[in-house]
């Protein structure tokens, strides 16, 4: 397993890879005014690198996300969806992540290979 860590302004984006699988962790606070310049290049890079693996996007450690981050997150999910491999979005099954969960379910309905799961705390 290898791990790549990217951080900016309270948000950590961690890619953890092992054979046939990868997890992209979003950790901390996503409240940048312009999140695209940080997140979109990561989407381009890792969307290509993860073309043949099942990917989990793990938001269980995401404490807050503003609406400006919705577009880069959609871009990531759409890019991964284009690879044709299963994509899981994981959130915590606790009340305070319901807001993220509803948003993710709304996005997932627009994509073919993306499923949203709520994990027990």
């Amino acid at each position: 397993m290898n791990e790549h860590i990217y951080e900016r302004n309270g948000l950590s984006w961690v890619v953890s890879r092992s054979s046939g699988q990868a997890t992209i962790f979003w950790k901390g606070v996503a409240d940048s005014r312009f999140p695209g310049p940080f997140l979109n290049p990561l989407t381009d890079e890792w969307g290509a690198k993860l073309s043949n693996v099942e990917v989990t996007v793990d938001l269980t450690q995401l404490e807050f996300m503003n609406s400006a981050t919705v577009t880069p997150l959609i871009n990531l999910l759409r890019r991964l969806d284009e690879n044709g491999m299963p994509v899981r979005v994981v959130l915590l099954d606790v009340e305070w992540q319901r807001i993220h969960s509803n948003c993710m379910r709304a996005i997932a309905r627009t994509l073919k290979n993306v499923q949203v799961e709520r994990r027990s705390a």
Binding site: R33, F64, A68, T71, I74, W96, R98, I99, N102, T110
Partner: protein, 153 residues
């Protein structure tokens, strides 16, 4: 709680954290929804506000009455079209038989667009649909206020 802040992005995180502390005794759902709604209101005020003599800074108010929580963000605004755009979004939300369907449509538009839909008002839809707040706007002589209110239950 009443805060006056310069129109800068950094102050928004601090206000959200203060709100989180203030609302620790309330349900996690209400606390998270309020923190989200306050953030979106303040981000809009910073993004679209103009410093005018009547309102040189962004003003934010939280009021907690029995059973009701209210958030109000006030900022200067010199462009009538920005206010009309705001009113148009709120009118759409009020007119929608199912506001969630409208919200999903806005998200779909973003998902279908290569670069996203600029100025889509997603934050306002999010406050209403995800947060469960009612929204209202007032505009008087270059000053716009957006009020978000909901039950604390």
């Amino acid at each position: 709680m009443s805060v006056s802040m310069e129109a800068n992005w950094e102050g928004i995180r601090r206000i959200r954290q203060e709100l989180g502390l203030l609302l620790e005794g309330y349900s996690p759902e209400l606390r998270a929804a309020t923190m989200m709604a306050a953030t979106e209101l303040l981000e809009n005020a910073v993004k679209y506000g103009d410093a005018v003599a009547q309102s040189p800074q962004v003003e934010f108010e939280l009021s907690l009455d029995p059973g009701v929580i209210q958030l109000k963000a006030t900022n200067g605004c010199t462009a009538a079209e920005k206010v009309e755009r705001l009113r148009s979004i709120l009118d759409d939300l009020v007119a929608a038989s199912d506001p969630e369907v409208l919200y999903l449509e806005r998200i779909r538009q973003r998902s279908a667009s290569v670069s996203g839909v600029p100025d889509s008002g997603l934050g306002l839809y999010r406050i209403a649909v995800e947060g469960g707040f009612d929204l209202a706007v007032t505009y008087t002589v270059g000053v716009v206020s957006v009020l978000a209110s909901r039950s604390t239950r």
